[in-house]
Amino acid sequence: MNKKYDIVVVGAGPAGSTAARFAAQSGASVLLLEKDREIGIPVRCAEGVGEKGLETVVKIKPHWIAQEVSGVTLISPSEDRVDVESNEMGYVLNRKIFDYELAQMAATAGADVLTRAYVHGLLFREGKVSGVKLQHLDAELEVEASIVIGADGVESRVGRWAGLKTKTSMKDMETCAQVTASHIDVDERYCQFYFSNEKYPGGYLWIFPKGNGLANVGLGLSGEYSKHKSPLACLQDFLDAKFPHASILTTVAGGVPCSPTLEQIISDGLMLVGDAAHQANPVSGGGITSGMIAAKIAGQVAGAAIADGNVSKKRLTEYVNLWNKAEGNKHKVFYKLKKFVYNLTDEELDNAARILLDMPIEKRTLVNIFKSALIKHPSLIVDIIKAFA
């Protein structure tokens, strides 16, 4: 490791490793820093992705995939089960391997990678970000950089240190608990989602199969409601009721900021990507692919800015514009949709499920689901059509 790089990336999750890879490919010198002892662990994620979006950032390798899924099963409060075939292949990944290899790809592209490197502050020169302060094992180090990319996930502080407003509101934070367990006897062709405003307010419970009876079973609640009961306690109740014989191999906690992208994700010499920038899909909480799409753009723009010798906020605005065009604008619509979906009562959810069950399976596309659920909200339909047009 040197004392000076063009670009330092903080956090080696999917977003950080992807930003580092594309920045290094553009010819910049790049350092990728991760506080944990091993990249890819712990996995605070249900590991579900769609093929199309992910393929735009990385060629999917077969050994990253634990289970292929062809659609989803939506389960209503009174447990009507609605299978919906997806128009693309879905995968439940092995993120331990996936994250690890994404970091390796960054290294292959020329980035230096360092683990057990806890970044605890930024360096500033003339009021502008000029590097990071970190602890590596027992050593205090300073590394200079022209651009710092904060990819430090939900707990992100890089943006705060630079004076950006990055706080997540309680309502927009999905607070989650998840187990990876065996003896979860479900149809492994589908990812399952349980909805109930009473049991899982502001969120949902999921079962994502990983093959051979192994599955990620977890749930998220909006922070607005988690005061009364913790996600872990809700999950425990579900497992006791449905899968009393499950063997629990891993238990994790986590949070996903489910809001539109932060207002400010850049500053002079600074960019935020992934969960740190609130780039997960606000309805589903899926943030792997969207974070990587943003990180690819950020890495490329950072590389080009270094080549231009101009890392000003104005120059880096290109990243914000391209991100909004790619996904950011859609997320604003999804956020409206989220408010609508999570306001449905259990009775309304049950009714929607029955309408869908009456449709032949080939008509149960996500667009039709939204149309039937949004029948009383035409303005939202217009927004959605615009977002996908």
Partner: protein
Amino acid sequence: MEIKNMQGISYRRDLCDFCGTCVAVCPHDAIELSENDLQITEKCTQCMNCVYICPVRALGGSDE
């Protein structure tokens, strides 16, 4: 079971998963989280956001 009291918030390291969710909702940047420890600094105003968001209830009000 070890309970650490900091700024009127109790913290149980044995329950904590070091997930960082509390850090994200703290309005005052009062939580310092490393790979295996958590500190609450004097910036804390006891707003309770961290207590209510923690997925595993590793944080509590001092009277809980």
